[in-house]
């Protein structure tokens, strides 16, 4: 192997040439370079088959036999979350989730924990803006037993008064910590500016709301929001289907229907604001820059997703190539389309070296403007389309990823067709579409710019980004 030789050749070239010429010197070798092998023909991929049905009380069930590992994941998704909290009680839903883990009417929390552990799992309860989930992940042979345990936790929570003070104290501590993390601080500002008083605008509970929460509030929330009509159980992995169905029917069949899901969509307008929060001495400025975009049910949703992947949503994307790989301003910049129920915003986030706060914003907006004026080449777009097509396979190739996909489709009401036609739709997007999507929906002149950083060092750099400022 000629590693030594090759090294010397290249080293020799740029050691003698000025740095500027080094890159072109190397690219002179382009003709001599090998071309990567293209590989074989693609194999067909279909989302693993799943079976969906409803129990008589309205609870939905989806079973996905998948994989070789002897494990099974069960996820009970209930359509309730911070959206359902009274305005003066942010964080109530989170406390409900925490107190639900403190035992059932027939088992102490320790018994529940040990039961789950004996199956190789643990009960986890997560609460989001729109949904709450009670999950476990166990060895296959215990799958049906896990369904029984999940049903008990979800349907018969004890809500013991005795545990609430401890959980509230934990919640205070966690709130204090979360509010000192710059990325969380940025998210809190961004959501508040975008969504205002709508529940999506509140990321954190307040000490007051935690303090005043009583078991009565928790029970009232639970009774008003938990029930079969809002629930969907996903089971993915290896399991005995007949036994699983039996356990699900007996565990969840008696659950009361409960109320239908609350629909409360925010009316969102772009808010062109520069919002800076002081963080003295910060070594980096934490940026969160974005604006509302059409939601998941819009025909533009997939073209927008393709546009995002090309612009900032992948390692090789334009913004990342620029502010990370060319400029070295940041380590992990990324853009994303963040989604809630029939609602979405586009945002770029990055933690950038303090002295390059202004230049980073300039480059981010510059890349957006470039894409809004000039369509990408076919080759660049094709690369992103192949990336998203491959990613789709990976996103459907593990128990939890499969559940996440199905859960997203069900939650947004996209229908079975969505997963079947996704890749085709991704590949139907044209370079002009990408340009138009950018020009129409990702507009620097309408964006909310949230910065968490050291004002004394960044105020001047940020001045040109104040709405109305002359560039």
């Amino acid at each position: 192997m000629n590693r030594e030789l090759n090294m010397k050749t290249i080293l020799g070239d740029f050691v003698t040439a000025a740095a500027v010429f080094a890159l072109s010197a190397i690219s002179c070798f382009a003709q001599e370079k090998q071309t990567p092998p293209v590989g074989g023909p693609p194999k067909p991929f279909n989302v693993p088959a799943h079976e969906s049905y409803a129990l008589p009380n309205g609870m939905k069930v989806t079973l996905v036999p998948y994989g070789n590992l002897p494990k099974v994941t069960l996820s009970l998704v209930v359509r309730t979350g911070n959206l359902n909290e009274p305005a003066d009680m942010p964080g109530l839903a989170d406390l409900v989730g925490k107190l639900m883990k403190e035992g059932t009417t027939s088992k102490s929390s320790k018994q529940v924990a040990e039961d789950a552990a004996r199956m190789g799992g643990a009960i986890s309860i997560t609460v989001g803006p729109d949904e709450s989930a009670v999950d476990t992940d166990v060895l296959s042979e215990f799958g049906p037993r896990a369904a029984t345990l999940l049903a008990d936790v979800a349907e018969h929570p004890l809500f013991p008064e005795s545990e609430l003070p401890r959980l509230k104290n934990d919640a205070f501590r966690q709130l204090t910590i979360a509010k000192s993390v710059p990325q969380s601080m940025a998210l809190e500002r961004f959501r508040k500016i975008l969504y205002g008083d709508h529940p999506y605008g509140t990321v954190f509970p307040t000490p007051e709301s935690i303090n005043k929460t009583s078991v009565a509030d928790i029970k009232k929330y639970y009774d008003g929001n938990f029930g079969a009509a809002r629930a969907h159980l996903y089971v993915a992995g290896r399991f005995n289907s007949a036994e699983m169905k039996k356990a699900i029917a007996s565990g969840f069949g008696g659950w009361t229907k409960g109320p239908a899901a609350l629909i409360n969509q925010p009316k969102v307008e772009p808010k062109h604001i520069l919002d800076v929060t002081e963080r003295p001495g910060a070594a980096q400025s934490t940026l969160l820059v974005g604006m509302p975009v059409p939601g998941p049910t819009s025909p533009d949703a997939i073209p927008l997703a393709v546009t995002n992947a090309l612009l900032g949503g992948s390692f090789g994307s334009r913004i990342t190539s620029n502010i990370r790989e060319q400029k070295g301003y940041t380590y992990s910049p990324r853009s994303e389309i963040s989604r809630r129920y029939h609602d979405a915003y586009w945002a770029e986030s990055a933690d950038v070296t303090t002295q390059f706060t202004g230049p980073s914003l300039k480059e981010i907006f510059g890349e957006i403007e470039r894409l809004s004026k000039e369509a990408p080449t076919d080759a660049e777009l094709k690369g992103i389309q192949s990336y998203l097509s491959g990613l789709f396979v990976i996103q459907n190739s593990s128990r939890s990823a499969l559940i996440n996909q199905l859960r997203y489709v069900d939650f947004q009401g996209l229908g079975e067709e969505y997963l079947k036609t996704y890749v085709q739709k991704v590949n139907a997007v044209t370079p002009t579409d990408v340009q138009k999507q950018t020009a129409e929906y990702i507009r620097p002149d309408q964006m909310t710019i949230v910065v968490i950083g050291d004002k004394s060092k960044i105020s001047e750099q940020l001045a040109p980004f104040t709405p109305g400022a002359k560039p």
């Binding site: 190397i26 990567p36 205070f172 990370r324 070295g328």
Partner: protein, 469 residues
């Protein structure tokens, strides 16, 4: 993977007596599923260790290249260099310029990453399986030679500087305890230096450092290649030979002495974190020799003590005493108990209120440990730990796109020359007896063997009564 699943689930009645219950569970539990991971292992004449493991569940393949050079062994005046170097492996090789490696993988529908750990640096791609050859070519290309420039290096020094800032310098609890604790608990420089690196060391690195590090460690006889997923083994062997067979092996330097002297006395240290609003505490113990009976026992002790809500420390510190909301912990914070080779810490950490003193927490922490040290663990608890461990081992194997399995196989190839041991791990844990648990706890969980690191907030004004906030 092939495996046999015997699904016969029987529900057993709850039986009052704990003794009888544990007996009943042992007898009446459904038969455990057996997992046998297919492992093909061989070496190329140039020393490259190759592991193949087929799994045709999805049309994807994971290609992982592991170099036996971690951050422990990096030049002493260049802390953080192994990690900076990892970044340089994405900056250009013989046939791929800057960004071309990343784009090649992405444009073929794949994802990629690299990471630097205690005893290895890894690079991996997950791609649609028809692109296996593309990935092998690209990995062989960068194993064959780097083509990086001063500009690339300067750029990545900026990126890595920002990585250290975002993960350590600019965040509360940055580096706590994963980066901090080894520096307090260990005494041998190789185990005790700042692995992420001082910013000035990162900035001081030169292109000559990069080339010399590459020449020293990035050779086929210092690497393992794991391929997991949907592939044809015959064709794959041919491709591996075609692309990696011509790479030259190198004369590897002798591994420095990595051993940690036996600790005689408890160590206590304090770190002030100006960004943190609540104190935190970490406790670490030196692990027994990897792959010894005591090592497997510690794997189960970890399950008994700190993994999951049923664990003794969770029950003690969270549930009973309300000192914290969660006890984090485990063996090897930068991986798992299998993917390292040198000395290692068994560690736990938690955040707490200013009103709770570290001493009070340590006193409470010691209760369950004393229990393990003074009497044999009951069979039910040990069985539960075994089930949890098996379940978590399968999760490690099941991580995204075959990468979890590739990680274990490559580690076992590099460190044990035996990736097939993936199929005997469970039996090693099965051999652990209550007596061995007790003996291991007595020897390795002594207060004299531990390091306690307390993280203190800078200002005492942090509100302790949030209700009045």
């Amino acid at each position: 993977m092939t495996l046999r699943v015997k699904c016969a689930v029987r529900w057993i009645a709850v039986i009052a007596s704990i003794f009888v219950m544990s007996l009943q569970i042992a007898v009446a539990s459904p038969p455990a599923t057996e997992l046998k991971v297919p492992v093909e292992y061989y070496k190329l004449p140039n020393g490259l260790r190759v592991v193949l493991s087929q799994d045709h569940t999805a049309p994807t393949v994971c290609v992982a290249v592991y170099y036996r050079i971690g951050f422990r062994v990096e030049p002493k005046d260049r802390t953080g260099f192994a990690h900076l170097f990892e970044h340089m492996m994405f900056q250009g090789s013989q046939n791929l310029g800057k960004m071309e490696f990343i784009k090649l993988v992405q444009q073929n529908g794949g994802i990629l990453n690299g990471s630097t750990r205690f005893d290895f640096t890894n690079y991996f791609e997950i791609l649609p399986s028809n692109k296996l050859e593309t990935a092998l070519w690209a990995e062989a290309d960068r194993m064959g030679g780097l083509a990086v420039t001063e500009d690339n290096l300067k750029n990545q020094q900026g990126v890595v500087g920002n990585e250290v800032k975002v993960n350590v310098i600019n965040r509360p609890y940055g580096g706590f305890p994963w980066l901090d604790m080894p520096q307090y608990a260990n005494t041998n420089w190789y185990n005790a230096h700042n692995f992420y690196g001082d910013l000035k060391d990162i900035e001081a690195a030169t292109l000559t450092d990069v080339q010399s590090f590459f020449k020293t460690y990035y050779a086929p006889n210092n690497a393992a290649l794991a391929i997991v997923g949907d592939f044809d083994p015959v064709q794959t062997r041919q491709m591996v030979e075609k692309y990696f067979g011509g790479l030259k092996s190198s004369q590897l330097p002798a591994t420095p002495d990595l051993t940690e002297p036996k600790q005689e006395k408890e160590k206590r240290a304090t770190k002030v974190d100006a960004l943190a609003k609540r104190p935190a505490l970490a406790i670490a113990y030196q692990m027994p020799q990897r792959n010894s009976p005591e090592y497997y026992a510690m794997g189960l002790i970890d399950q008994i003590l700190i993994e999951g809500d049923d664990s003794l420390e969770y029950q003690e510190l969270v549930q009973k005493r309300g000192m914290t909301a969660a006890v984090n912990g485990g063996i090897n914070y930068l991986g798992n108990m299998f993917n390292y080779n040198g000395p290692m810490l068994f560690m736990a950490d938690l955040t707490h209120d200013p009103a709770t003193s570290p001493d009070a927490i340590i006193k409470a922490w010691d209760d369950p440990i004393e229990g393990l040290r003074t009497k044999p663990v009951d069979k039910e608890a040990l069985d539960r730990a075994r089930v949890k461990l098996r379940s978590s081992l399968y999760d490690s194997m099941g991580a995204v796109g075959g990468f979890g399995l590739a990680d274990l196989l490559a580690s076992f190839a590099l460190f044990d020359d035996n990736p097939a041991r993936i199929n005997t791990l469970v039996s090693e844990f099965d051999k652990v007896t209550p007596a061995l648990i007790q003996k291991t706890a007595q020897e390795y969980l002594r207060p004299e063997d531990r390091t306690v690191l307390a993280l203190e907030t800078k200002s005492a004004e942090a509100p302790t009564a949030p209700a009045k906030n």
